[in-house]
């Protein structure tokens, strides 16, 4: 069994990133889309932590990850509030139905 190294973390992070993108593109429900965004943010977080750990770069990575977690929470709060608002006006949270603003 090989030692779990940087590359494994990076692999996970890339997979997460791609899953996030995939989720954002394919999901109709706004909440699911938001979750996709969370996945992306977290994939970056994994990167930060992994790099900090394996690269001996000090604490900047961890610090960044902490900030990101907080920001993600804030973002989720705002986003969910907006989704709620959307639900009130459109009676749906399907992002592909919300297209009154277009050319």
């Amino acid at each position: 069994m090989t030692q779990i190294g940087l590359n494994h973390f990076l692999f996970v992070s890339v997979v997460l990133f791609c899953l996030g993108i995939f989720g954002i593109i394919t999901r109709k429900n706004a909440v699911m889309v938001l979750m996709g965004i969370e996945l992306i943010l977290n994939s970056a977080n994994i990167n930060f932590i992994a790099f900090a750990k394996y690269g001996n770069f000090g604490y900047q990575g961890q610090m960044m990850a902490l900030f990101v977690i907080i920001l993600a929470a804030a973002e989720a709060a705002i986003a969910l509030a907006i989704v709620l608002n959307i639900y009130k006006t459109f009676s749906t949270v399907n992002v592909d139905e919300i297209d009154t603003l277009k050319d």
Binding site: I21, V33, V95, D96, I98, D99, L101, D103
Partner: protein
């Protein structure tokens, strides 16, 4: 009388008619009798010109008096220094004689018109136009340079346009005016091109200076060929103005103008300006150019003569006869019979003016009936008109004791001499044949109009002799058609002062080897020969001795032959129309195609209409179509394409629908549309595009 005074006279004569024009034009609607002022001005001009002719020919028979001023001068021009454009007045024998003719006829026509035009609603305007014509014509006569010639050349074109279209309510009249102007312009383009060549070579317009330079051997583009071309191009102006073949088509149409105008402009003076032009530039014409001129002259003498045989409009016959006679003059110049060409110009002016005014008198009497088939027997009603008309007809037919005989005979002798010297008898043949035709159709005209029984009784009954102001000019002009004014010997014009003293052949300046062979100066003459040879005054020699010799020899045979032919022509006319021994209709039927060709004026108008006019109009329409749809379209695109795109979007903006007709804008719009397709309003589409573009960007830049 000093030279200076002569110049002042010339200037006064030049500007008097202009004054008349301005005053008459501007006061025309206010002062009813203002036309009298115009008449007065012309009479004054005539008196002055009589004095001038007298003074010039008596006191300065040899001098060419010139006065010029810098009209425009460009100073310090790089490479040239000062470039002056001069206008000036040249008073020589030719110009004073010509001015005499012009003012005389113009005055007579003015007087004639007082009665003829009486009652016209634009009576004063008519006289104003006559005034500007006289001014322009005087300008042509007095000019000492080719630019001023061109300026007045165009101005006579303008006055001719105004006068032909004087009764512009008639479409035919306005058409004729337009046609005259445009056809003349065709010739003018040639003339102007010639001027361009002259100016770019000599940097001057003045005849004298150009002549001097050519005699020094300076040639356009350093080649004799281009000198020939220049001559021909300048002559193009004459082709237009003197209605020479192939631009003769405007003159018959110009008969739509009032008849006195036809007499003044389209018979006596303006159309002779072409001949006058050639006379002026004669020294620079090379052999080649002269030959070209002679050919054009011959064709112009012949074709209209054949047409005149069958025309039924009294003025049309005269018009074709005019073209034919002008052809004579031009041909005469072409074969070197310079003096006789000018002589014929003068004599023709008088008798043709008389003929036209006579026809005007007839038309006036017949209440604007012009068809000779409706006339006949008028000599009883219009005795004076008949008498003068007959005299003039005799003159034009070349019967002895008339001026026409003298001048025409000289021309025929010239062609004869030319034939004997060069072996080309074509011109002589044409000359004599046309003489026959002339005699025939002119007498046909006289007989049909004045002899026989009246064919239109009603009009005939109302006809009465014209008033004094109309008859007087006829008498004067007919009187001038008698030989006595020109020479004491009715069979030898050279004995008169006119040809022996007043008119002299000019010195040719063209390089020797570009001349007719017989015009070459006998440069190397053994000294003793000069002394032993019979001393001749310079005046007696035309161009070269051999030519003068040939002319002398040709004189008698030419005279006899022409007399015979004229007599034959008159005889034929009488047998056809007076004695009815021969039936013209029968003859016409037997040579139907020829008759039709003649009757339809050789179809010139139709051919031109079908080719040049149609081509130009067609081209203009095609180009305009191209302009609208292609040129504009390249930038603008077509409306249909735009509309197709407009379907894409309901909110297509007004301007675009109206026609942002632009292909450019259409493409722009299309690009815009493509961009818009991406803006679906669906956020996920956006993300997809972003991700895709990211991939593309990465792919693009990965090599770096």
């Amino acid at each position: 009388m000093t030279e200076n005074l002569l110049i002042q006279f010339a200037i006064i004569i030049l500007f008097l008619p202009l004054l008349g024009f301005v005053v008459t034009l501007f006061l025309g609607s206010k002062v009813k009798k203002i036309f009298l002022f115009e008449n007065f001005v012309l009479i004054l001009a005539f008196i002055l010109s009589v004095i001038m002719v007298f003074a010039k020919l008596n006191y300065y028979p040899q001098e060419n008096i010139v006065s010029e001023f810098h009209w425009i001068s460009l100073n310090n021009v790089p490479l040239f220094g000062t470039l002056n454009i001069d206008l000036g007045i040249l008073v020589d024998n030719i110009s004073v004689l010509m001015i005499f003719v012009v003012t005389l006829i113009s005055m007579l026509v003015h007087i004639f018109s007082i009665a003829y035009m009486h009652g016209d609603k634009r009576y004063n305007r008519y006289f104003a136009y006559l005034g500007i014509f006289t001014f322009s014509m005087t300008g042509i006569v007095f000019t000492h340079d080719i630019l001023m010639m061109y300026i007045f050349w165009e101005l006579v074109g303008l006055s001719s346009y105004l006068l032909i279209g004087f009764w512009f309510e008639k479409k035919s009249a306005s058409d004729a005016g337009k046609k005259a102007f445009i056809v003349n312009r065709i010739g003018d383009i040639g003339m102007f091109s010639g001027i361009l060549i002259l100016f770019s070579t000599y940097h001057t317009f003045t005849f004298d200076k150009i002549f001097t330079q050519i005699s020094l051997g300076v040639l356009p583009f350093n080649s004799e060929f281009w000198l020939t071309v220049t001559g021909i191009l300048i002559f193009c102006g004459a082709i237009g103005k003197s209605a020479q073949f192939p631009l003769h088509v405007w003159l018959p149409d110009a008969m739509e103008g009032p008849t006195p105008v036809s007499a003044l402009i389209h018979a006596a003076t303006m159309v002779a300006a072409g001949v006058y032009l050639v006379v002026r530039v004669f020294p620079i014409l090379t052999g080649g150019a002269l030959e070209f001129i002679a050919i054009i002259g011959a064709l112009s003498a012949f074709i209209p003569a054949t047409i005149a045989l069958t025309q039924n409009d009294i003025k049309k016959v005269l018009a074709y006869s005019t073209v034919s006679q002008l052809g004579y003059m031009v041909m005469a110049l072409g074969v070197g019979a310079y003096k006789f060409a000018f002589f014929h110009l003068v004599t023709h002016a008088f008798f043709k003016a008389a003929l036209f005014l006579g026809s005007g008198s007839v038309i006036h009497a017949m209440h604007h009936e012009q068809d000779i088939r409706n006339m006949g027997g008028l000599r009883k009603k219009l005795p004076l008109t008949y008498a003068t008309f007959l005299i003039s007809t005799i003159a034009i037919s070349g019967v002895p004791l008339t001026s026409g005989f003298l001048s025409k005979d000289g021309i025929l002798a010239g062609t004869f001499a030319f034939g004997s010297l060069t072996g080309q008898w074509f011109f002589a043949f044409v000359g004599f044949f046309v003489a026959l035709l002339t005699a025939f159709y002119m007498f046909r005209l006289v007989i049909l109009t004045f002899h026989g029984e009246p064919r239109n009784k009603e009009k005939f009954d109302h006809a009465k002799e014209s008033p004094f102001v109309m008859v007087m000019p006829l008498v004067v002009l007919a009187a001038l058609s008698i030989f006595i004014w020109y020479t004491p010997n009715p069979f030898n014009p050279e004995q008169g002062a006119f040809l022996s003293k007043w008119i002299k052949a000019p010195t040719i300046v063209v390089p020797q080897n570009a001349r007719y062979s017989f015009m070459k100066n006998d440069v190397i003459k053994p000294a003793e020969q000069v002394q032993t040879a019979k001393p001749k005054t310079e005046a007696e020699i035309t161009f070269s001795e051999s030519y003068t010799e040939a002319m002398h020899h040709a004189h008698i045979p030419a005279m006899l032959l022409s007399l015979t032919l004229a007599g034959l022509g008159i005889l034929l006319a009488f047998s056809f129309y007076q004695w009815k021994k021969l039936d013209p209709d029968k003859l016409a039927n037997s040579i139907k195609p020829l008759y039709k060709l003649s009757y339809n004026k050789w179809y010139f108008d139709e051919i031109y209409q079908a080719t040049f006019v149609a081509f130009t109009l067609g081209l203009s329409n095609v180009l305009y179509w191209i302009d609208t749809y292609i040129i504009d379209g390249i930038v603008n695109g077509s409306a249909t394409v735009t509309k197709q795109f407009s379907k894409f979007s309901g909110t297509f903006d007004n301007i675009v629908v109206d026609g942002l007709v632009n292909l450019m804008a259409t493409i722009s719009g299309f690009i815009g549309l493509m961009f818009r397709r991406l803006q679906t309003g669906k956020v996920q589409t956006y993300i997809v595009v972003v991700v895709f573009s990211l991939v593309i960007i990465l792919f693009l830049f990965k090599s770096f």
